[in-house]
């Protein structure tokens, strides 16, 4: 993704500090809390304006929960979310509503993220009306403009979601998000439910929009090849914690954390001539309800030491903005 020069891209748009999201497990007769599912366990990272920050991880890594907690779709347990210098939690319900247009979200499942009984024109234009950013007269014209921007035609305005394919519905979801002219968009697995050829169309659309409108993305995905293509900086999550974070080139050129190395080697490459020595992790992903003690990856790590079992490794910068949480590095 090319860097965007017009705005001062050094400004930090989003600063997440020690974010935690615990789901209580109830037990006993009166349903008191007997434990926690640590879905997001002390995550910190920053995103600069115009940048695409990739968040990659497998099931149960907490990447989607992170996205939803940042936008206050689910209440957080601890930590701060500073957006454009303002702590989102200090805002009242009404104040938060006014901030909503500038932070948008693109959902993973094209079939469930659109109201089946609402025409797509209304679905896209509804928020503009509700925020008073356009008068009813202007609505149709503004929606048509954003429809063509996203590769859809004017006569789609009155159509209903069930008349579109997966790829087109994702375009509608994107149009609905960008019509509010947001600065920051979280894309939660936007292309995972699509076929390869349609995936490429949506990825290209997202990068065009970033170039034209200077958007900043938090791109969440389990697909490493897609994340490598779209991101400037990438964070790798495992069982609720950030294990490594670096610029794209550095992360793929020399991954440090054993999990990142295993993850990169596990991705099948569409090149039969390539014979790679693959690190195959043993065992299964532990359940987030009772994570292993010390470093959470120690149960599957090929380089495990007694120290890893006891102490949680510190998440530190090993030079040049390359963060990693591992004892043996």
């Amino acid at each position: 993704m090319s860097k965007h020069d017009s705005k001062n891209d050094k400004e930090i748009l989003l600063d997440v500090r020690h974010l935690k999201k615990y789901y209580p497990i109830t037990g006993g007769i009166f349903g008191r809390t007997v434990g926690h599912v640590k879905a997001v366990d002390d995550i910190s990272f920053t995103i600069r304006r115009g940048e695409t920050f990739g968040l990659v991880g497998e099931s149960g890594s907490g990447k989607s929960t992170t996205g939803k907690t940042i936008l206050r779709l689910t209440p957080k347990t601890e930590g701060e979310i500073i957006y454009k210098g303002v702590d989102l939690d200090s805002l009242s319900k009404q104040e938060l509503r006014e901030y909503r247009p500038s932070m948008q979200f693109i959902f993973q499942n094209p079939y469930h993220s659109l109201n089946p009984r609402q025409r797509i024109g209304d679905a896209i234009g509804e928020a503009l009306l509700d925020h008073g950013m356009a008068t009813p007269a202007e609505i149709r014209e503004k929606v048509l403009e954003v429809l063509s921007l996203c590769g859809l035609s004017s006569y789609h305005y009155d159509r209903f979601p069930h008349e579109f394919s997966g790829g087109q519905r994702q375009r509608i979801g994107i149009a609905r998000a960008i019509i509010l002219n947001p600065d920051f968009v979280i894309a939660d697995e936007p292309v995972s439910a699509l076929d390869v050829s349609i995936q490429a169309q949506i990825i290209n659309l997202l990068s065009d929009l970033q170039e034209e409108r200077g958007l900043t993305y938090l791109f969440i995905s389990h697909d490493l090849s897609v994340v490598e293509h779209v991101s400037d900086r990438i964070g790798v999550m495992y069982l609720g914690s950030l294990v490594e974070m670096a610029t794209r080139d550095e992360l793929f050129a020399q991954p440090l954390h054993p999990y990142t190395k295993a993850l990169l080697s596990a991705v099948p490459i569409p090149d039969p001539t390539l014979k790679r020595e693959r690190i195959v992790l043993t065992g299964d992903i532990p359940s987030p309800a009772d994570p292993p003690t010390g470093c959470k990856f120690h149960t599957r790590c090929p380089y495990v030491t007694p120290h890893c079992r006891m102490e949680v490794p510190a998440y530190r910068d090993v030079g040049g903005g390359h963060y990693v949480a591992c004892h043996i590095i």
């Binding site: 037990g27 007769i29 009166f30 349903g31």
Partner: protein, 318 residues
């Protein structure tokens, strides 16, 4: 699982209390009571009786007396039968249970067989026939079926007795008695079965259709198992699973008595007692009966949930 049951039992208490309040005040607030129905009494004698039965005390006080007794198992005293309510209930309960139990067994067997079979033979004539039959059974007013059966089977063709439990004045004992009761029982059981078989059949058919579409049924076929093993071992077992909860809901129907059917067939069960108590405004008996129904329903719901837990390994092992 155990904690879940304890929590459910604790939750039952407020619900039952609420029900008892509702029942008591529905009766207490209505003008007139048992004493009024007996017109022969002089006003002065009537007042004496009221004091005797404690009807003159303020309502709230009467409620606590009543609920206090109920907690000790004493459901009060029936005016009409001049004996404790619990004895009246005990006496007639088993008659109702008899027809209800037989009818339940019949209903469940038919419903499972017909429901499952019509699900397997989905677009056959049998399936459409069953669907129409199900809707007919659900739409019949209970008393209408009863009257029709009596008119044709009892009066015109004289195959079954018109009503009652035994032919009047017969001293048959042992086997002969039971044959006689069986003859009397046939029509009421038929009515009760027809009324409930509709919904249950549809329930099993829908469940079966749902299960047949599941992935593991396709896996069973991919394993090369015989079709009847696939259907009756894999699919049926999963289709019957949620049905176990319905056993719990049967409880009130088993002991609560079928008010209309027992009235039409003059069957000496709880249901008919219920109607008579209404006619005589025998409120203590009515309150006892309705409270019994409430308890049966709540216990039935609990049993339904517990059975589901026991049956489904996914819940049992949580």
């Amino acid at each position: 699982m155990r904690q879940y049951i304890i929590r459910r039992v604790l939750l039952m208490i407020p619900t039952l209390l609420g029900a008892s309040i509702l029942i008591f005040f529905v009766f207490a607030l209505t003008p007139g009571d048992f004493v009024d129905t007996n017109l022969k009494l002089t006003p002065q004698r009537a007042q004496e009786l009221r004091v005797l039965y404690g009807l003159d005390k303020p309502i709230i006080e009467r409620y606590f007396i009543w609920i206090g007794n109920v907690l000790r198992g004493d459901f009060g005293f029936s005016f009409k039968y001049q004996e404790p309510v619990s004895d009246v209930i005990k006496h007639y309960l088993w008659n109702s249970f008899l027809i209800a139990f037989v009818s339940s067994i019949l209903t469940w067997c038919i419903a499972v067989a017909v429901g499952v079979f019509s699900a397997i033979k989905r677009y056959s004539w049998f399936d459409t026939l069953v669907t129409l039959g199900v809707f007919a059974a659900m739409s019949f007013p209970s008393f209408f079926i009863g009257l029709l059966l009596i008119k044709y089977f009892a009066l015109d063709w004289k195959v079954f007795p018109v009503g009652g439990m035994t032919t009047t004045g017969s001293e048959l004992a042992g086997f002969g008695h039971w044959v006689d009761v069986a003859k009397h029982m046939f029509l009421p059981v038929l009515v009760l079965t027809m009324l409930s078989v509709g919904t249950l059949t549809r329930y099993f058919r829908t469940n079966m259709l749902e299960v047949i579409r599941q992935d593991f049924v396709r896996t069973a076929r991919a394993k090369g198992l015989k079709e009847k093993v696939v259907v009756y071992k894999h699919a049926l077992r999963n289709a019957l699973l949620p049905a176990i909860t319905l056993l719990g809901f049967e409880l009130p129907a088993l002991f609560g008595g079928a008010i209309i059917t027992e009235k039409i067939f003059n069957w000496p069960g709880i249901g008919r007692i219920h109607m008579e108590a209404l006619a005589f405004r025998d409120y203590p008996l009515l309150m006892g009966l309705t409270m019994l129904l409430a308890i049966l329903t709540v216990v039935g719901n609990l049993i339904a949930d517990v059975l589901y837990g026991v049956a489904d390994p996914r819940v049992r092992l949580k």
